[in-house]
Amino acid sequence: MSATLTTRVSPRRRFVNALMLSLTWVAALVATLPLLFVLFYLLQKGVTSISWAFFTQLPRPPSVPGGGMANAIVGTVVVVGGASVIGVPVGIGAGIYLAERKGAPLAVVVRFLADVLNGLPSIVMGIFAWELVVVPMGHFSALSGALALGAMMIPTVTRTTEEMVRVVPSTLREAALALGYTRWRTSLRIVLPTALAGILTGVLVALARVAGETAPLLFTVLGNPYWSLSLNQPISALPLQIFSYAISPYDDWHAQAWAGSLVLIAMVLVISLLARAATRSGFARASE
């Protein structure tokens, strides 16, 4: 390019620039359309089919009016709760390790494998939990679903914990050590509480992700038309119920599937917004 300060940009180059610039506007517009399109239909079809009964009643046969997904909503809470019990401690522990020994060979390997784990198809997690829990036990159970979803939570929680522990100012750590705190007390009493809001964000992001998972549940919790809170029994879950209603031939079940989707999206969005709020308060504190 033999440009001097006074060179005029040729019309062709100007045109290409303007064209590509407007194409990126088009791309941004087109990329946001599907979301608005999905949300529009969810609201339109979901709101009309949602009712109080949806939250309080058990599913009913297709020709019987009324009925709801109360047991599926509770089932999702049970399975996701179980998943957190499995995934959160492991994820946080591994995240602390990665942050505190970031250069260690094991840390490099774990960081890489956590990312690889994160990209594994959820259906593979389902096969894993099925073979490991369902087959030996001889029956489907909420526990196996919790294991599949819990394993899926680990990489997300690990990586966010790592990031959040890293941004804790080292002056805090040094101050604690200088005052005679041991390493582990410094970690648990000073560093972790400071990073807590950020870690919570990671946990919530992971929760939001697994709450909507369906594929692993096909192999593990199976679904259950009745009330069940037992970890040892098949249990219903909202995404699973949406799936079986969506592929059914009945109109009133389709309506229920839309209502269920609306509730599921609402759950996921509330968790995601909480995560955003937690991040904000976390950064506020870290930058104090």
Partner: protein, 333 residues
Amino acid sequence: MVDEVRAGASGETERTPTESPRGRVGIHGGGVGDRVYSSVITLFALAVPVLLLVIFAVVTMAAWPALRTFGWGFITSSDWDPVNNRFGAAPALYGTLVSSLLALILATPLALGVAIFLTEFAPAWLRRPVAFLVDLLAAIPSVVYGLWGIFVLVPILRSYVMPFLRDTLHLGSTPFFSGPAYGPSMLAAGVILAIMILPYISAVSREVLMAVPRSQREAALALGATRWEMLWGAAIPFARSGIAGGVILGLGRALGETMAVTMVIGNRQEIAASLFAPGYTMASLIANQFTEATGDLNLSALMAVGFVLFIVTLVVNAAARWLVWQTSREVGV
């Protein structure tokens, strides 16, 4: 949702300037408490590789009977005959590749466009909302996409898009857009996958584009480049392998996506050139047939499909991470 992807893109190079130089010294010394604490977190860290190994072992074991019986024929045969115990996953493998490639072709230009828009051209007030909306695409559960696909997307494809492609554009004479428009089809799967992987590709691309040093951009502009020439000649080459990593990451998502695809692809065990024809993917085959599987070999054949899927996504993801990591290291240095 997309945060974890971003962590992967930028995590490696972060160096806090205030970092204690004796950070690693302390953790090795100290009393019993320190040693216990140190081993506990090491154990947790070890859980990640162990988990991956166990998944690999368990899936391989479940798949072994079918893999041993059919050998390589398992991925080259199109026979799926539970009655005579003959199983071949070729149509599912083909469907997985075609639907994922279609999704990449549709999503990559869009995602790149959005990433460039957000890093370069968007007015400040538009950046946050557009980024938020695109990120939100990743937060919608697969089964909800599936429901939307069945009742909104597929009817639109059947009544408008397919006739338009086939008749108005006269693409019906090519094998890819011929035949009756049923609705549930490879095309539907590709479109829905494209929507689902768009946020992942765009998040990583945005991240690596933002990591391109200012000096690189300013140098190009100072030489008289237009903004687009600056992007095309300076910024994008710099971010190239990172963008490739993002695309491959999206590919990994598309390959393993199950529910939405199962609900719109039509689930037919057949290799058809036409995108209008129904098909199968590996994930949808497993999900669709698992509850109906009769006999041990049938189940094992489904697990073997899972095994192939596992290997494919493992390789794809490792490649993607490596590429993203490469870029962030180059940019960091």
